[in-house]
């Protein structure tokens, strides 16, 4: 790949999704973009890149290129512990703080095909007695339309449902349809899916008490991470909480958030008192 073509693609991806592609990832560009080129009836990157540059491939080609480069890997109850903390500390703490309105809004900000928001919906269902009379809004968004549609359908392969999901929960909340497994309609109706690009400010989505922004900041550079985190701080009440992925942190990125002592991977607004504390 020519240097200027690489630079063009890297800039396109960064502008559209925030993704940083290092020079060592040329092979990744090639292997992931070849199938896109073919789908659009092009022979290879040599034909794809001029089409992108001239704009003659249209918006569809840009979107396909961007989506081909994102990593959608996800699993149910990813890393387990964050979800245990949700059940044992975050949920009870937030419920105590919201006793007046009995309403809690949760945002899964890079939801991929829905494993993360559905894990939360399952936890709420499993604790039905405790949350009865409450309203939970779970809003799940992702950059990629294709992946959001997959989340909406709630259809997973045998491989996907075996990763992270205890068998009792599979039996309880999924139906088998052909060689796929579909999460039941009750749970699907608990999650509102939509497309949303984290590079834009989230004010249009409203306020959220709890935000999951896991395993997406790792793909961004520092200024983008900062911008995304500060946007989240803006739409979070002073006592709200933020979840990041295991390899992510706010430290050295923004001072709008700080870690909540004892709750690994969970952050609070620096200028507030979190509704959730380690008892």
């Amino acid at each position: 790949m020519r240097v200027e073509d690489f630079e063009y693609l890297a800039k396109l991806l960064k502008d559209r999704s925030g993704l940083i592609v290092g020079k060592d990832k040329v092979y990744l560009l090639e292997t992931r973009l070849m199938p896109v080129a073919r789908r659009h009836g092009l022979k290879g990157l040599d034909e794809l890149i001029p089409k992108l540059r001239s704009g003659s491939g249209g918006e569809k080609l840009m979107v396909d290129v961007t989506e081909a480069m994102t990593t959608n890997e996800s699993l149910f109850f990813r890393d387990t512990r964050p979800f245990d903390l949700f059940r044992d500390h975050v949920l009870p703490g937030m419920m105590q703080a919201r006793g007046g309105q009995r309403k809690i809004r949760i945002w899964s900000a890079a939801c991929s095909s829905g494993q993360e928001p559905y894990s939360l919906a399952i936890l709420l269902k499993e604790n039905q007695a405790k949350v009865s009379g409450w309203r939970f809004d779970i809003v799940a968004t992702d950059l990629s339309k294709e992946i959001v549609d997959k989340g909406k359908a709630g259809l997973y392969t045998q491989f996907e449902v075996q990763r992270g999901l205890p068998i009792q929960l599979l039996v309880k909340y999924f139906r088998q349809t052909g060689d796929k497994w579909q999460i039941d309609a009750g749970l699907r109706s608990m999650v509102q899916f939509g497309e949303f690009n984290l590079l834009t400010h989230p004010r249009s989505l409203g306020q959220f008490d709890i935000v999951f922004c896991r395993n997406v900041l790792i793909y961004f550079d520092q200024p983008t991470k900062k911008k995304v985190l500060e946007g989240i701080a803006d739409i979070m009440p002073k006592d709200g909480v933020l979840y990041l992925g295991g390899a992510e942190t706010v430290l050295g990125v923004t001072d709008r958030f700080k870690p909540i002592p004892g709750l690994r991977g969970i952050y609070q607004r620096s200028d507030g008192e979190p509704a959730v504390k380690m008892a």
Binding site: L75, T80, Q158, F159, Q162, R163, G164, P166, I167, Q168, L170, V171, R175, Q176
Partner: protein
């Protein structure tokens, strides 16, 4: 060291499973059917069992039922690992006392997460 009994009539599967489970820090014992598995379990109860369903002599379900009758046999964590991948089989296995269920084909990641869920690995 914790022990895990791998029960499968395919030697290839046993070898693959052994490798994965040894890497999780277990001592692995193999059995080629339910009958042999039961004999080995009577000698010494394993901490975990990775269990195929369809096998000659004694199938996985029969073995599981017999294991649960042994003194202390209720404490063994049993993970089915089978090509039977429909809801009816899964429910039957759970009713018989299986703790987890893997639908073949499987990989190291799946075995690892299932073992973690059962608290078999740290």
């Amino acid at each position: 060291m914790k022990t895990c009994l791998v029960v499968d009539d395919s030697r290839v599967i046993r070898t693959v499973a052994r490798k994965i489970i040894e890497e999780l820090g277990f001592e692995v014992i193999e059995a080629e059917d339910g009958k042999v598995a039961l004999e080995k379990s009577e000698e010494r109860l394993p901490d975990g069992v990775l269990l195929d369903w369809n096998m000659p002599n004694m199938d996985g379900l029969e073995y599981l039922r017999a294991l649960r009758q042994l003194p202390g046999g209720d404490k063994v964590s049993v993970v089915f690992c089978t090509t039977e991948n429909d809801m009816r089989h899964i429910q039957e296995a759970l009713a018989a006392g299986a703790d987890e269920y893997i639908m073949k084909p499987f990989d190291a990641e799946i075995v690892k997460t299932k073992f973690e869920m059962l608290g078999l690995t740290a």
